[in-house]
Amino acid sequence: MFKGLLYAALLFTLTAHAEPWPEKDWSQGLPLTGPAAKALDDYAFPPRDDTTRKGIRTDALLIIRDGQIIYERYAAPTTANTPHLTWSISKSLMATVLGVAFGENRFKLSDPAARFYPPMKQHPSVTMADLLHWASGLDWQEDYEFAPLKSSVVAMLYTRGRHDMAEFTADTTTVSPPGQAFRYSSGDSNILSATLKGMLGHKAYIDYPWTALFQPLGIRNATWESDADETFVASSYAYLTARDLARVGLLMQRDGRWGDRQLLPKEWVTFNRQPFDHYKPGQDEAVPGGQWWLNREVQGAAKPWPDAPADTFAALGHWGQALYVMPDEHLVIVRYGDDRDGSYRHNELLKRVLAAVQP
């Protein structure tokens, strides 16, 4: 009897120390409580004004520690079942899909994009790595609301470019030599999407995000809209529930491994997390890696998010969408929002999350 109990206790300890992975759904860990959790709540979910649309407007906040949910809250009408628009998080998702293709030896970082996407013959020396660094050198205007007349993004998504977004981008003139300067560009991300189509052929490409990434991770509710040429809009239009996006976060937290399977080569994740050499501090809100954003000190400039660890990296999107990964803290955080002004601060949210998860 006593021996039986001992075995049961041992078994329990062993299971508790095993590495949890989400199966059909996530398992629940010890939920965050106390004043620090309340402070996090207060920051993320202040009273919401849907008329003025001012202030911080979080739609979803989900925190995963060691592969288990420790915090989850939604604001109506978003629920755990809402495939929420991720906007530019889609870029990091396409990079992750490309990582699987990279593991299948379908391309090398030094390959010219034109090898897979002929319209890029106009810019023959732009490589896959240049596009992944948003450093194609193409003259792209990323502004959304403030310069709608000149905005390349608005033209690409809604007017002149919408039939074939990659071609619209490839037809842009050059402003600097490829690989030499960071210039954030939704166009670069859509050319990446078109190169993947070139590697796979149209038929395999249309299923590839699902077969290569979503299904292995157990993601059942993904939508990825494409343009009229049936190229996925890698810059903007992937939709996932918060719980499903967190699966991609966990994959990245664990260096591209899902269970026993190394889905992304470690080398790929290292590339994603390596700062782009020619980035100048202050050019953007965080440091660009390979289609992911990094919290790294570069050229003597402080970390973009001073209260978060230096190994923090993120996928970020318009109007407050974010997937943060902190490998050393074993944390994955999904934050969806509808922020129409600039009041939301990544650093403030991360600071409060870190305070709330302290034992």
């Binding site: 849907d50 009408p77 978003t78 079942n81 809402t82 495939p83 929420h84 628009l85 709608p148 007349l149 000149k150 608005v154 033209a155 998504l157 809604y158 007017t159 002149r160 919408r162 039939h163 699902w210 993904a222 939508t223 990825w224 809209e225 494409s226 343009d227 009229a228 239009y237 939709y239 509808d338």
Partner: protein, 104 residues
């Protein structure tokens, strides 16, 4: 001419600059009025049929400073049409994976 009609000369110069700018930006200016109708149709369609949010929420979600003049949503066909600045655009929901797309 310049000395005798300084104001008219200045006006002509400004007009020439303006015409030059219009010519320079002709492609952008021609496409500009399409933005509001296309944006409203596409993003409403996705809000409603991809994200599955209520209709009144989605109307608020797509609201911009530029007003739309007409709007219709056909729930049976999953087709959304919006007009603004004299242009009309429609978006169609294509399926669970495919989501919405602007019609040509």
């Amino acid at each position: 001419m310049i000395r005798r009609h300084p104001f008219i000369s200045l006006l002509i110069l400004l007009l020439l600059v303006l015409l030059g700018w219009v010519w320079h930006e002709r492609v952008n200016l021609q496409a500009f009025p399409d933005i509001i109708a296309a944006y409203t149709a596409k993003e409403y369609c996705s809000c409603r049929y991809v994200e599955g949010n209520p209709a009144d929420y989605c109307l608020g979600y797509v609201k911009q400073y530029v007003p739309t003049s007409a709007f219709s949503d056909n729930p049976e066909k999953h087709r959304v049409t919006a007009s603004g600045l004299g242009r009309t655009h429609s978006a169609q929901w294509l399926g669970q994976r495919e989501g919405c797309r602007l019609l040509p």
